[in-house]
C-alpha cells in the first residue's frame, strides 16, 4: 500500500469518526468538562489570592493600630497598660499584636490542579508558645464532602476523564467490526491488519489530540487568561506534550485491547478495568507503599512531648531554674531578680519548649519531605499518577512544595524570634525611660523592620517533573504500541 493510500485511508477514517454523533457528543462533553475544570481552578486561585490580600491588609492594620497606640500612649495617663495590651513594648507586640504570615502564593499555572492545596494551608499566621506544636494548624474546612471526592478541576478532567473519553471513542474500534462480521470483509481486501489498525487508531488519536489540546487551551484562555500562563510557557509546552503522550497511551491501550480479538465486550471490560486500576487502584496502592516507606511520626507523641515540657516549666523550682539558665547564657551580667520578669520567663519558656519539641518537628519535616520524595519516585509506575504529579508540581500544589513551605515557615519563625529576642532582652536589662505619667513601655516602634516571609516559587521543579512525566509516558506508550503492532501482524483466524 502506497503512502498516498495510507493517507487516503486515514482521511476516510477521520471523516467516519467525525461523522458519528457519539464522537461529537463525547468531544462536546469533554470541552464542557475542560471549561468547568478551568473555571473551578480559576475560582480557587482567585480565592487564594484574595486570602493573601486580606492577610496583607490585616498585617497593615496591625501595624497601623500599633503606631496609633504609640501616639496615644506617649502621653501621660492614669490608665494602666498591661504588657498584653501594649504594642509599644517589644514583648507585648511579639506575643499579642504581631500579625505576620508565611505565604505560599499561587504559581502562574496554579489553575491546573487543586492538588494538596485544599487540605494543606497556604497561609499560616505565625505565633509562639505552648499551643503551637506545629505550624500547620490553619485550614479551612470548606465542605468535607467535596474534600472526600476531590475537586472537579482541570487535573481531574485531564487525568481521569480524558482516558474515559478515549475509551469511549476508540475502545471498540475493530472490535465492533469483528462483532458485526465486517472484519471478515475487511480482511478479504488486499490490506494488512496493521494498516487498517493504524488508520483506525491513528484517526482516533488525531481527532482526540486536536480536540483535547485546543479544548484545554481554549478553557485556560477563557478562564485564566493567557497572561499568567505565558509566565510558565516552557512548562506548559512540556505539559501539553505529556498530555498528548497520555492520550496516545490510552489510544495504544485501546489498540492492544482490540488486537486480542476477543470482541467489543471484552475490550471494553478490559479497558475500563485498566482505567480503574491505573487511575484509582494503583495510586491507592502506591500510597500504601509511600506510607510504608515513609512512616508517619505521631502528632500525639509530639503533643505529649510539648506537654511534658510545659509541665516541667510550670513546676515553680524547675521553671525558675530553666529561666535562670537561659538568662545566664544570654546575659550573664543580669541580676537574679530579672529571671522572674514575665518576658524573661516567657522567652526562656519558649526556648525550652522549642528544644523539647524540636526532634518531633524535625521528624515531621523529614516525613513531609520523604512522602513527597517517595510519591515522586513511585508516581511513574502509574501514568495517571505521573501526569497528576506533573500538573500539581506545575500548579505549585504538590507535596514537595508544601514540605519546602513548611520548612521555610519554621525558619521564618526562628528569624522572628531572633529579631525580637535581643530587643526584649535589651529592654529588660536597660529599660528605656518613658515620659512622666506614661503607662506604656514605648520601647518598640520598629514595626516596618519586622522580617517579612520570603515567599518563593520554585521555577525548576515544574519543568523537571513535566519532562520526567513526558519521558515515562512516551516510554509506556511506545511499549503498548509495540505490543499492539506485534499482535496486529495477522487477521484473527
Amino acid at each position: 500500500m502506497t503512502p498516498a493510500r495510507v493517507r487516503h485511508l486515514l482521511a476516510a477514517e477521520i471523516r467516519l469518526l467525525l461523522g458519528e454523533r457519539l464522537t461529537l457528543a463525547i468531544l462536546a462533553a469533554l470541552l464542557a468538562a475542560l471549561c468547568l475544570g478551568a473555571y473551578t481552578g480559576a475560582g480557587r486561585v482567585a480565592a487564594e489570592r484574595a486570602a493573601i490580600a486580606r492577610a496583607a491588609q490585616d498585617e497593615a492594620r496591625a501595624v497601623r493600630e500599633a503606631r496609633a497606640a504609640h501616639v496615644r500612649y506617649a502621653q501621660a495617663s492614669d490608665v494602666k497598660v498591661h504588657y498584653w495590651q501594649d504594642p509599644t513594648h517589644a514583648f507585648g507586640y511579639m506575643t499579642q499584636f504581631l500579625t505576620v504570615h508565611a505565604v505560599k502564593p499561587p504559581t502562574p499555572l496554579a489553575v491546573l490542579a487543586t492538588g494538596q492545596s485544599d487540605v494543606q494551608p497556604g497561609l499560616m499566621r505565625m505565633s509562639f508558645g505552648f499551643s503551637t506544636v506545629f505550624d500547620d494548624t490553619d485550614y479551612d474546612l470548606g465542605a468535607v464532602g467535596r474534600l472526600r471526592l476531590g475537586a472537579f478541576d482541570l487535573a481531574f478532567v485531564l487525568v481521569a476523564l480524558v482516558p474515559l473519553a478515549v475509551i469511549a471513542l476508540a475502545g471498540t474500534r475493530l472490535c465492533a467490526e469483528q462483532d458485526s462480521g465486517l472484519l471478515r470483509l475487511i480482511a478479504a481486501q488486499p490490506v494488512a491488519p496493521r494498516r487498517v489498525a493504524g488508520a483506525k487508531f491513528g484517526a482516533a488519536a488525531l481527532v482526540l489530540l486536536a480536540a483535547l489540546l485546543s479544548g484545554t487551551a481554549l478553557a485556560l484562555g477563557l478562564f485564566e487568561g493567557l497572561g499568567p500562563l505565558a509566565e510558565g510557557g516552557g512548562t506548559l509546552a512540556l505539559l501539553a506534550a505529556a498530555l498528548a503522550a497520555y492520550t496516545l497511551f490510552w489510544v495504544a491501550a485501546c489498540a492492544l485491547a482490540a488486537s486480542l480479538w476477543r470482541g467489543a465486550v471484552f475490550a471494553l471490560v478490559i479497558l475500563v478495568l485498566a482505567w480503574a486500576c491505573l487511575t484509582v487502584a494503583l495510586p491507592a496502592s502506591l500510597s500504601l507503599a509511600v506510607d510504608a516507606l515513609a512512616p508517619r511520626p505521631s502528632r500525639i507523641a509530639a503533643i505529649d512531648a510539648s506537654r511534658e515540657a510545659q509541665e516541667r516549666f510550670s513546676l515553680a523550682p524547675e521553671g525558675r531554674r530553666i529561666a535562670a539558665a537561659w538568662l545566664a547564657e544570654r546575659a550573664p551580667q543580669a541580676g537574679a531578680a530579672l529571671r522572674d520578669a514575665p518576658e524573661i520567663r516567657r522567652l526562656a519558656r519558649d526556648a525550652f519548649y522549642d528544644a523539647a519539641v524540636a526532634s518531633h518537628r524535625e521528624a515531621a519535616r523529614l516525613h513531609a519531605e520523604a512522602t513527597a520524595r517517595w510519591s515522586r519516585r513511585l508516581a511513574p509506575l502509574s501514568p495517571a499518577a505521573s501526569l497528576l504529579l506533573a500538573l500539581e508540581t506545575a500548579a505549585g500544589t504538590d507535596a514537595a512544595r508544601h514540605a519546602a513551605f513548611l520548612a521555610a515557615a519554621a525558619e521564618y519563625r526562628r528569624s522572628l524570634r531572633a529579631f525580637f529576642e535581643p530587643r526584649i532582652l535589651a529592654q529588660a536589662l536597660h529599660p528605656v525611660p518613658v515620659c512622666a505619667g506614661c503607662q506604656a513601655r514605648l520601647d518598640f516602634d520598629a514595626y516596618d523592620a519586622v522580617p517579612a516571609f520570603p515567599a518563593s516559587v520554585d521555577a525548576e521543579a515544574p519543568w523537571r517533573q513535566a519532562l520526567l512525566c513526558l519521558g515515562g509516558l512516551l516510554a509506556s506508550t511506545l511499549l503498548l504500541a509495540a505490543a499492539a503492532f506485534r499482535r496486529f501482524a495477522a487477521w484473527p483466524a
Binding site: 468538562a33 468547568l36 473551578t40 486570602a51 486580606r54 490585616d58 493600630e65 494602666k80 495590651q85 492538588g115 487540605v119 505552648f130 499551643s131 500547620d136 494548624t137 485550614y139 479551612d140 474546612l141 470548606g142 465542605a143 468535607v144 464532602g145 467535596r146 472526600r148 471526592l149 476531590g150 472537579f152 481531574f156 476523564l161 474515559l164 471498540t172 462483532d179 467489543a264 465486550v265 471494553l268 471490560v269 475500563v272 487511575t279 484509582v280 487502584a281 495510586p283 500510597s287 500504601l288 509511600v290 506510607d291 515513609a294 508517619r296 502528632r299 500525639i300 505529649d304 506537654r307 509541665e311 510550670s314 512522602t371 513527597a372 504529579l389 500539581e392 507535596a399 503607662q439 506604656a440
Partner: protein, 464 residues
C-alpha cells in the same frame, strides 16, 4: 423461591462472580486492614495521652487558678468504631483540641495532612470501595442478564415456553442481590463486627449502626444491579448493555459526584474559617485595649458603689475575667455558631445532592450511620469548648469569690484541680443520626424506587 435458587445456582457457578467476588474481597480486606491499623494506633495513643493529660492536670503544683487555666490540657476525639468501615469526615477534620484560657481553639492536625498526595486516589477505606468499585461489580454481574439471552436467542425460547417476564426479572434480580450480599455484605459485616467488638463503646450503639450501614451499602449495590438489568432489558446486544452501563457508571460514580459537589458549594455558600477568625479578632480587639479594660473596671467599682478595689466583696480581677469570658463566649457563639451552621447546611445539602447521583446519597448516609459525619465533628468541637468554658468559669469563680487584698495573688491546689471532671465526650446518639440520615436515605430509596418502577414498565414490554 425455586426460581431464585436456580438462578443463584447458575450465578454461583459463573466465573464472573468468582473473579468479581475475589477481587472485591481482596480490596475490602486490604482497605479494611489499613483503616483497622490506623484505628488501633489512634485509639491506643488517645487512651495513653488522655490518661497522661489527666494526671498532668491533677498533678499541677499550687498556683493561681488563672495560671492553671492557661496550663489547660489537650483533649482528643475518640474515633467512631465504624470508622474502620467508613472514616467519613474524620481524616479531613482535626481531632485534637488544645483547651486553654481565653481561646476557642479549633480541632487541629488532620490525618489527610500527613498522608501523601497519592492517598486521595479514592480507595482508602471499605466505604470508598463500595462507593466506586461495587457499582462496577454490580454492572459486570448484571449487564448480561437479558441482553446475552436475547443475543443468543434463549430469551425467545424462555418467553416462548411461557416464562413470565416479571417473575423472570424478579428472580434474576433477587439471585444477583443474594450474590451481592454474599460477596459484599458478608465481608463488610464481618469487618464491621470485629470493629464493633473491638472499639464499640456503649454510647456508640455500634451494632445497630453496623446493621443499618451494611443495609445501606446493599441498597446502593441494588441501585446498580437494577440499572445494569434495566439496560440489559433494552439493549439489543450484551456489548450495547455493557457500554451503556459503563457510561452510566462513569457518569454517576466518577463525574457527577464532583459536579454535584461543585454545585452544592456554589448554591450553599458558607463562611470561611479565615473570615470567621477575622470576625472574632475584630470582636475582641476593641474589648481588650487598656482603655476599654479600665472603663470596665471603673464600671464594676461604680456598680458596687466603691472606689477602692479592696473594698469590693469580690475580687475585681476575678470578676472582670468572668465578665470578659462571657463577652468572649458570646462572640465565639455568634461567629463559630454561624460558621458551623453554614458548614452543617452544606453537609445537609450533600444529602439532597444524592438526587443527582446515588454515590453522594450513599456517601452522606454511610458516614452518618458510621458516626463519622460532620455533625459528630461539630458536636465534639462544641463539647470540647463547653469543657473549656467549664474550666475557665470554675477557675475565674475561685478567684472572684476569694478576694485578695493588697495585691496578693490567690493560690489554689489539687482540691480545686480535682473539681474539674475528666473529659469524656459522648457521641451523638443513634436516634439523632437516624434523623440526619432521613434525606440521604430517602434519596437512595428514590433511586431504587425509580429504577424498580422503570424496570417494571420495561419488563411488561419485554421483547425477545
Amino acid at each position: 423461591m425455586r426460581r431464585v435458587a436456580a438462578e443463584l445456582g447458575l450465578i454461583l457457578r459463573d466465573a464472573r462472580l468468582r473473579w468479581t467476588g475475589g477481587v472485591l474481597a481482596l480490596l475490602l480486606i486490604v482497605a479494611g486492614l489499613g483503616t483497622w491499623r490506623e484505628a488501633v494506633r489512634y485509639a491506643a495513643e488517645v487512651e495513653r495521652i488522655g490518661l497522661a493529660e489527666r494526671a498532668r492536670w491533677l498533678g499541677q503544683d499550687e498556683k493561681n487558678p488563672h495560671s492553671a487555666d492557661h496550663f489547660g490540657l489537650w483533649v482528643f476525639r475518640p474515633s467512631a468504631p465504624l470508622a474502620v468501615l467508613d472514616p467519613g469526615t474524620e481524616p479531613y477534620t482535626g481531632r485534637m483540641v488544645r483547651v486553654e484560657a481565653h481561646v476557642f481553639n479549633d480541632a487541629v492536625y488532620r490525618a489527610v495532612q500527613d498522608a501523601g498526595p497519592l492517598a486521595r486516589a479514592g480507595l482508602g477505606s471499605p466505604a470508598d470501595i463500595v462507593q466506586l468499585v461495587v457499582p462496577l461489580a454490580a454492572i459486570l454481574l448484571g449487564f448480561a442478564a437479558f441482553a446475552a439471552d436475547r443475543e443468543r436467542g434463549t430469551l425467545r425460547l424462555a418467553l416462548g415456553n411461557g416464562a413470565a417476564p416479571g417473575p423472570l426479572f424478579a428472580g434474576r434480580f433477587a439471585a444477583l442481590l443474594c450474590a451481592t450480599v454474599l460477596v459484599v455484605g458478608l465481608p463488610l459485616l464481618a469487618l464491621g463486627g470485629l470493629a464493633a467488638a473491638r472499639f464499640g463503646l456503649p454510647g456508640w450503639q455500634a451494632w445497630p449502626r453496623l446493621l443499618a450501614w451494611v443495609a445501606a451499602q446493599i441498597g446502593y449495590a441494588a441501585v446498580f444491579l437494577l440499572l445494569a438489568m434495566l439496560l440489559s432489558l433494552t439493549a439489543r446486544t450484551a456489548r450495547g448493555a455493557l457500554a451503556a452501563a459503563l457510561a452510566v457508571w462513569v457518569l454517576l460514580c466518577v463525574a457527577a459526584p464532583r459536579l454535584a459537589a461543585l454545585g452544592v458549594e456554589t448554591l450553599v455558600p458558607a463562611r470561611s474559617y479565615a473570615e470567621t477568625r477575622a470576625r472574632i479578632e475584630a470582636g475582641f480587639r476593641a474589648h481588650r485595649t487598656a482603655e476599654a479594660s479600665d472603663a470596665r473596671a471603673r464600671e464594676v467599682l461604680a456598680r458596687y458603689g466603691v472606689e477602692d478595689p479592696d473594698a469590693l466583696p469580690v475580687d475585681l480581677r476575678g470578676l472582670m475575667m468572668t465578665e470578659n469570658e462571657q463577652h468572649n463566649f458570646a462572640v465565639y457563639d455568634r461567629e463559630f455558631g454561624a460558621f458551623f451552621a453554614g458548614l452543617a447546611a452544606r453537609e445537609r445539602a450533600y444529602g439532597w445532592a444524592g438526587l443527582a447521583t446515588p454515590r453522594l446519597a450513599l456517601q452522606a448516609l454511610s458516614q452518618i450511620l458510621a458516626g463519622t459525619d460532620f455533625a459528630q465533628h461539630a458536636h465534639f468541637v462544641w463539647t470540647a469548648e463547653a469543657y473549656r468554658r467549664g474550666i475557665s468559669e470554675r477557675m475565674n469563680a475561685e478567684i472572684r469569690d476569694n478576694p485578695q487584698r493588697g495585691g496578693r495573688l490567690l493560690v489554689a491546689g489539687p482540691a480545686l484541680w480535682r473539681e474539674v471532671p475528666p473529659f469524656d465526650p459522648a457521641p451523638l446518639p443513634l436516634a439523632r443520626s437516624l434523623r440526619d440520615a432521613r434525606v440521604p436515605a430517602l434519596m437512595l430509596a428514590l433511586w431504587i424506587g425509580l429504577l424498580a418502577g422503570a424496570a417494571a414498565t420495561l419488563v411488561r414490554r419485554l421483547r425477545p
